[in-house]
Subunit: 180 residues, 4 copies
């Protein structure tokens, strides 16, 4: 338990946020989870992700964080985003209750479409709730410079959310005898 | 011996796997080995690699891991893969028993060919066993987004499987006197 | 206090400097600041930056560091710079006293314009001081090779000045029971 | 002194070597040196480099390491190499005795010229010794895949040989009070 507290206090959070007229978009990385394996080491149990958080503007430079909408990008979705050509678009669909009894009640989609003339992208989230009969939509225009930050941050994060940095960390070993 | 146990328990494994209709493909990084040198430090004795593991589908979303086929990419083969143009292909040939008395009994080849229209690649492994008279072939279509994940993960892994991250890690030193 | 001293003595500084006929330009990274949060961990309180320092030549290979002009690039400005096409330019405006009573007294601008024929860029800083009635301008031509160093260093620095490297650092955890 | 021994034993070496018909070429990274500064921290005193080592073939897959020729790439030369277009060439000149009484006795040049058709590069070193009246020249053809390894390894090494990884390493700090 002492260990767990120590971990919690060591945990650090970072994000990249763009604030625009109708909404803001924040992206932040989430670590993978490891599980022990019988041979004594551990392996990735669940990949990490890059969380996109949208929150609507409710006034001049004021945003309502309580009305946020979340979309967690998987490694392959991150791959799609970082390889997006300047005139290309992409769209992802998520069901937050997939494989549960609530499957199909909420449908989320994230689309990224070019603003044109190599000027950046529109990033849109749509959340359709069939139970509450609501359909929320938030759109954030992202400039070319802002998208370059996202692309660089996502490319950096990708090996980490898959645990490759930990798999590629060398631990002290007792090397064999000097080479002849 | 206590040290060795500690190392084994600290070792972490990570991979990236795509599951397709006829087979799945998993890639995972393998660390280099170091050996002590007379001057007191150590140097890379054997480069690491990126292991490709193919396993065939035996039903709806069911794969037979016992029938897996392996192909370990060397640093130069990784270089070939990450610099592959969207309309280019590459092919590598391995003999798992090279320089042994069994040389030539098994011939493995890995080929990567474009799906067309910048849509990704087919990754194919062929294992020809002249003794058992078998010829196994597994093919996995990889989308552009999935290949972007592989390219990013391989680019990240490359300096690590060659030991450059360890050679570039600074150890505490006693700096010289303050600069004037 | 002992802790603080230890930190100060552990702090390391690095830069990349190009010395040209009329001025020199040095770039160096600055770390972000973290602040504790209630749940026990910490989050980025203030992003880091990449500091550009210009200083004028006062003779053959002699530069007057006391006449230096500073310009701190934000993450988004770094994104603009690393995604700059070979024929594109960009310009940023800063007010060092923004949101203080001195707002508007000093106006700084940084512009990056192509030298032409894919030969690199001119990096210019202009500092207009409305109180002292001065207008300083320093220009440094940067070759394609030097800009490649800057681009690579800035791309490397970007996730670090946003704290993503720290958010993506895994701390020892007690993994769950072995996977079945 | 005990500290120094510990450092020497912890030092690790890694390289990437291509063996060709007439000569082999090995590249390996060299760390920067830091020096203490008055404020208590330290700063880069001397940049690291990437060392190119050429050694001639003296038979079938046999190379004479005693006849090696060295060329240390500075950060800007690394920048030139990693930004080299597929049809471009570059050339660097070094005088190993620059600013000494032996200046001009030995002239080294490294040139990188395209093999044509996006097939890689010829990497050539020429060492002209005006005292010994010798002119050594070694050429190594580097394939596109091998150059991709070099480019990736050099891009990775660049921030490290300039000390930016150490300047961007966060040391434990006592964060300020929780944010409100």
């Amino acid at each position: 338990a002492a260990n767990v507290d120590e971990n919690a206090s060591a945990r650090k959070f970072a994000s990249y946020t763009v604030f625009k007229g109708k909404a803001a978009l924040s992206i932040s990385p989430i670590l993978p989870n490891f599980t022990k394996i019988e041979s004594g080491g551990s392996r990735v149990k669940k990949n990490g992700s890059v969380m996109l958080t949208f929150f609507p503007a409710v006034g001049q430079r004021q945003y309502d964080y309580s009305k946020k909408q979340l979309f967690a990008l998987s490694p392959t979705e991150v791959g799609s985003l970082i390889s997006l050509g300047s005139a290309e678009s992409c769209e992802f669909f998520h069901d937050p209750s997939m494989k549960s009894s609530h499957e199909g009640q909420v449908k989320k989609s994230l689309s990224i479409t070019p603003l044109g003339n190599d000027n950046g992208y529109f990033v849109n989230i749509t959340v359709l709730n069939n139970v509450q009969k609501t359909n929320e939509r938030l759109s954030v225009p992202v400039t070319k410079a802002e998208f370059a930050v996202m692309r660089t941050a996502l490319s950096y994060a990708l090996p980490h959310i898959m645990g490759w940095d930990q798999a590629l960390t060398s631990h002290p070993q007792s090397p064999t005898a000097p080479a002849s």
